[in-house]
């Protein structure tokens, strides 16, 4: 792998906020990470943690009323603050996106051939018609779509096939970075497994950098090299997927893993309380009101990212640095128990 080279995608201190009648919602609040070519990073978190906003900001697809600052670098430039015109040239060619609902992303009045022709004409106007056809059929064949169906319309395909077409459509331009936002959520278990296989092969066959956004930790374990865990707009832990699942360093990661109902679950467990309102997040560590390990320092100061021996970066005072914790700061935090119904 060519990991020594510059990362394919690099995000530094990214902030995204939405204007509301009251205080702004800080959906993404100081996030940094890299993805190398051929690497898959899983971005996990519960609804409202900011993971989809983060994915969209990389594509430059923020809704009106949202603003961003910080650095998002790929293809040799920072895309934060680019004009819509510049973004349109980059989207597709340098960074591709795979969405959750393939039906709503394909135009029902256009054949599959039309979709490919439009994409290739826009981004690679020099291609001949025959070359466009060959490139399209190659991309589709790689996804298991037979060439006999090239002239058909989206409604003639099943859900799993539509998602394969979407992936082929993203890959036909050979972007170095692909963002996949919950790509299997609307699919059945067996089809989900097929798509995961495709995504796993992607990094091997095309050296693509993939950001896989999901709420399903099982999918991350299956398809990702690294995982970044997001909570209330921040990445609280980022490390090698296998290490994070074996020995989660952040209490939120640990509790989230424990709350998963899997085929081996013997007893049910939930995280008390609910994720915070991002207009007014808790002081210090945002997880402290729900954290079973919270200490006195936690509501007082925001934890800095710390490198731990499992190879992860974690933001949690349990991992220090000790010299920044004031005297008595490691005493357990006293607080009221959340009520039963105070939940997500």
């Amino acid at each position: 792998m060519t990991s020594a080279a510059e990362p394919a995608l690099s995000v530094r201190d990214l902030r995204v906020w939405y204007g509301t009648p009251g205080a702004p919602v800080r959906a993404v609040d100081g996030v940094s990470f890299d993805i190398a070519a051929g690497e898959t990073l899983g971005l996990v978190g519960e609804s409202g943690c900011g993971k989809s906003t983060l994915g969209r900001s990389i594509m430059g697809l923020l809704p009106e009323g949202a603003a961003a600052d910080g650095d998002i670098r790929y293809g040799g430039r920072n895309v934060v603050g680019l004009t819509e015109r510049d973004l349109r040239a980059i989207r597709g060619a340098d960074v591709g996106m795979i969405f959750q609902e393939p039906m709503t992303r394909l135009d029902p009045l256009m054949t599959i051939e039309d979709h490919f022709a439009e994409t290739l004409k826009t981004h690679e106007p020099g291609l001949s018609k025959a070359e466009r056809r060959r490139r399209s059929l190659d991309a589709l064949g790689g996804m298991g779509i037979p060439p006999t169906r090239f002239g058909q319309y989206p409604h003639e395909f099943s859900g799993g096939m539509r998602q394969r077409i979407m992936i082929a459509l993203a890959l036909v331009l050979r972007p170095r970075v692909v963002i996949a936002d919950e790509p299997t959520t609307a699919l059945d278990v067996l089809v989900e497994a097929q798509i995961l296989t495709i995504l796993t092969d992607l990094r091997r066959n095309y050296d693509t950098a993939l950001l896989l956004i999901t709420h399903n930790l099982g999918i991350v374990a299956e398809a990702c090299d690294r995982v970044a865990v997001m909570y209330a707009g921040e990445i609280v832990e980022d490390g090698p997927a296998e290490q994070v699942f074996r020995a989660p360093a952040h209490p939120y990661t640990r509790e989230l893993l424990a709350s998963i109902i899997s085929l081996r679950t013997q007893a049910l467990r939930a995280i008390p309380g609910a994720p915070p309102d991002l207009r007014d997040p808790p002081s210090g560590c945002r997880f402290h009101p729900r954290c079973p390990d919270a200490m006195r320092v936690c509501p007082a100061m925001s934890p800095a990212p710390v490198w731990v021996e499992t190879g992860s970066t974690v933001r949690c005072w349990l991992h220090g640095p000790a010299e920044l914790i004031p005297p008595g700061g490691t005493e357990p935090l006293e607080r009221r128990r959340p009520e039963v119904a105070d939940e997500a």
């Binding site: 089809v191 374990a221 109902i261 081996r264 119904a341 939940e343």
Partner: protein
Amino acid sequence: MRPETEAPATTAPLLEVRNVKTHFALRGTFAGRVLGRDAGSVKAVDGVSFALQPGEVLGLVGESGSGKTTLARTILGLAEATEGSIRFGGEEVVGMSERDLRRHRRRAQMVFQDPHASLNPAMDLLTAIGHPLKIHGIAHDEGALRRAVGDALEHVGLTPVERYLHAFPSDLSGGQKQRAVIARAIITDPDLLIADEPVSMLDMSVRAKILELMIRLKEELNLTYLYVTHDLATARYFCDRIAIMYLGRIVEIGPTASIFADPKHPYTRSLLRAVPDPDPDRRVPRDLPRGEVPDAVEPPLGCSFHPRCPRAFEPCGWEARDLRDLIERRWAGLGEEAFERERRRIGALDRLDAPSTDATISAGRGSGGGDVRDLLDAIRDRDPDEPLWRGVERVETGSGGVDVTFRPHVDPALLDVGDRRVACHLYDPSLAPPSGEPAA
């Protein structure tokens, strides 16, 4: 909440479903209707039988299109059964008048998947949860209504009650909304609760709480559950028995523990292996069934799962459409030139579109039956283990094409296999399953 109930001292099932079919007629084209042509129907539920004992939790597990939700709706009389019988508490539900159905639904309530869509945003919880009492004419004054709603809120853990009586759905989180939906379902004091994916729209960290609530309510209120889900993990935790559905039918039904310890039907086996798990030592295997759940208008012949089944053999229902899929799968893997070359040897594949054991592949212009035969042989040589070939009875090469005749198909019936029932020919000794096959 339950005044008069000592459960009657019988072992009669609370719910008995017998050979229920729910088909939806397709409208077809205008010309078709004028000419009286039948447009066909979607066989959403296609011959399902099971019984539910009082106090039991039965999981109805299947993927989208399996018919599990339609079956649940049919039991409540929200969809009309085309055939069969549904007995609930000794009464026949199929064919009930709307008036009797309303009475029926007091005792059999449903919790839907999406808590955000299940509550009217303009109703506060007192109005929403008390609504069924008004509809069924149970609460006669405001005081009684308030007491009953307060009681239901307490049961589902939305306390202090005063804080929630006048709350609107927009004030509630996803988990709280689902609690309110459950409160509305239990307020009529039902015997049966049908829960259709009650936790699948919720975040991981709160699913456990809603499942715990449902387990507690079952004890407190003597409920019987039909748990409809695609999620095997929650079904395993929650259910006493499980029925696995595929394309409108039950393919395997039995005690949860034995199904998960030793799944018999190849579909159940595949499903269990396909669930992604956060355990880094466990990997989803790559040899999972290809393709997707087929169309329920014209389901595959024989066993509906046969086109995807890794264990399918002679009697499973091989037919023309399987041959078309096989050829198209090959073409998806060829380069453009090779594809065009092969395509020219074959005429249109459209003649392979009907469910039939007779398949004709005509030769393309400028080629003959021998060319088509050569292509079929090449496909077979490339993957001789492809199970489709076991279903082929005869291949005849003519001048204009090739006729492939498949063996007659057998519809799999549910057979007793140990402590469960399985609809799969592998377990039918009379069909002489291939060697190395499981001792049932």
